[in-house]
């Protein structure tokens, strides 16, 4: 059976391997022979690193990353634990990024050093069940609603749900012309809702939570 698999043409192997979870793929095929290494190197990887323990994550950092073309990584799902977010910086051509358990200590890193570099990113989901400050939200939104993220078409922000999000302290010269879908899973006042619309002139699909700012404070 192994021999038959090897007889398949490169293009087909490449196609099949893109469907195998990357860590499993590496553990099974890496260093089997030069040909497999060459094929693996050029896969459009989609890394789902959620529920990855320290050993697996170290395997990803030390074995997988040095042996693939990191510019070909298309999609990256990661938990904001320890210093893992730094690894996003290796993938410059990411199209899709999901971060879970985002916490306040890493917002500056994300807003200033990670997101602005992802020029190809069109899909972004940020999840946080922890307390974020208004400053945290503003620094993220100032990047997301700007031309620094000129490819971003889909954005999902699921922050701690009993908190309130505002848009009145954002840099008003910014707008996102690319954003088509926006989901903000946090309460916002009606007045702030109008503010929000100013930043997303090309929006097609919008999901928000609204309360009457004059009654709920």
């Amino acid at each position: 059976m192994g021999r038959r698999f090897e007889e398949l043409p490169n293009e087909l192997l490449w196609f099949i391997m893109e469907y195998i979870p990357p860590i499993d793929l590496f553990r099974t095929f890496f260093n089997l022979n030069q040909r497999f290494n060459q094929i693996i190197r050029l896969i459009h990887f989609r890394f789902n690193l959620l529920y990855t323990n320290k050993n697996e994550f170290n395997y990803f950092l030390n074995i997988i990353l040095p042996n693939i073309e990191s510019n070909w990584i298309k999609s990256y799902y990661i938990d904001d634990i320890s210093n893992r977010l730094y690894s996003i910086n290796i993938c410059n051509n990411l199209q899709s990024l999901r971060i879970y358990h985002l916490h306040t200590e890493n917002i500056d890193l994300l807003a200033k050093n990670i997101l602005p570099k992802l020029k190809q990113l069109n899909y972004l989901c940020l999840y946080s069940e922890f307390t974020l400050t208004e400053r945290d939200r503003n620094s993220l939104l100032n990047v997301i609603f700007s031309e620094q993220m000129s490819s971003l078409t889909y954005c999902y922000l699921a922050f701690q749900d009993f908190d309130q999000i505002r848009f009145d302290q954002l840099n008003r010269i910014n707008k996102s012309f690319s954003l088509k879908t926006l989901i903000i899973d946090q309460w916002c006042g009606l007045r702030d809702f109008i503010q929000l619309l100013h930043f997303i002139p090309n929006i097609q699909r919008l999901t928000v939570r609204l309360f009457d700012s004059n009654t709920k404070e």
């Binding site: 320290k54 989901i183 619309l197 919008l206 928000v208």
Partner: protein, 378 residues
Amino acid sequence: MKFIIFERKIIYSRTIIPSLNTIDDFTILVPHLIYLRVKLSQISFTNATKILFLRLPSQLRELSISTWSIEYADGHSWQTLLSSKFPHLKHFRLIISLDQIPLNHSITTNSDLDNLVKSFNQSKYFLDHHWNVLININELDRLKFVLHTIPYPIENFQTTFYNIRRCTSSSMIIKSTYFYVNKLSLTLHDDLVRNHIDDRYFPNVNQLIFLSNLRKDSQQFQSIEYFNHLKNLINLSNITSLNFPEELHEYPIQLINILLENLPKLNSLTLSHRLNVYLKTQSINSLKTLTLIFTMYSSIFPPATRMGHLLLSNQILTNELILELVRTFSHIQTLTLILRHLDGFDNQFSEWLKRIFLNEQNISYDLLLNDRIVRFYF
């Protein structure tokens, strides 16, 4: 303080923020908007119509509303608004969830319930568009009254078993209504019904959350019987996350143990440490993340505060217990310890963590002081 915040907002509204009254048509701002999904809180239907719905672009294709007000249950008002303002609307979705039965609404008989939804389910406009609604009523649940369009439109759903009364609907429709639900919250209560028949089915749940209204001794709860109903109601094979979040409420241990043995894809469990001590260890060995809830932290036991003496030892997180938990669960990916209700972590604790786990044991952790959470990664 409230007054100052309010004043600041008024000043903004005069100087920077365009007043709600100056932009009559949001088409100027978002001309391409075709889909709006919105949760509305503390906004009357009349107000929402005036300041939101009537300002939306008329080419809207989908409008989804979730609210906590019975005012939105009038099909005639919706018909007037939707038919005049949104001629291209393809999807209209509505959820009304109430934690009290509305005082002036009679819900005693099935025909009362049919009457309540008559303005939707007997209207030619809504029938032509297939925008029918369903009501679920159960006085023992947290949400006692839920009216929603069919199918139930969003991922989150909160309900309970037994004694649910509905308006007239076919069992086939009820069975297929909850296809999109992937986060299901169930309220446990004492009133178990034998030979229970429920037409609902939840095929795609991956997060299962239990709330508890149990008043009697939770260990007398008919766990096996309940589980047998549960497995007919939910496809258990997709559940990855199981949550018993109410630290001070009672949960039946037997039910938790049965669930742990019957959820093949489970990788995340949240419950109070008070319950955790009674779990069968082999069933939590395959978890990837475990979250334990405590009432308070005290570096030593018994705690120095008077309140601490009223608590059970397994409600209090101590340094010694942390060392033991880290040793026990070092085979999983993440161990999260959360404090609720009383004293949080302090700087002394932060120093202790650094000394023991960073310097001596080389174990990574995050201490989130504001959230009163410490997370260990293995």
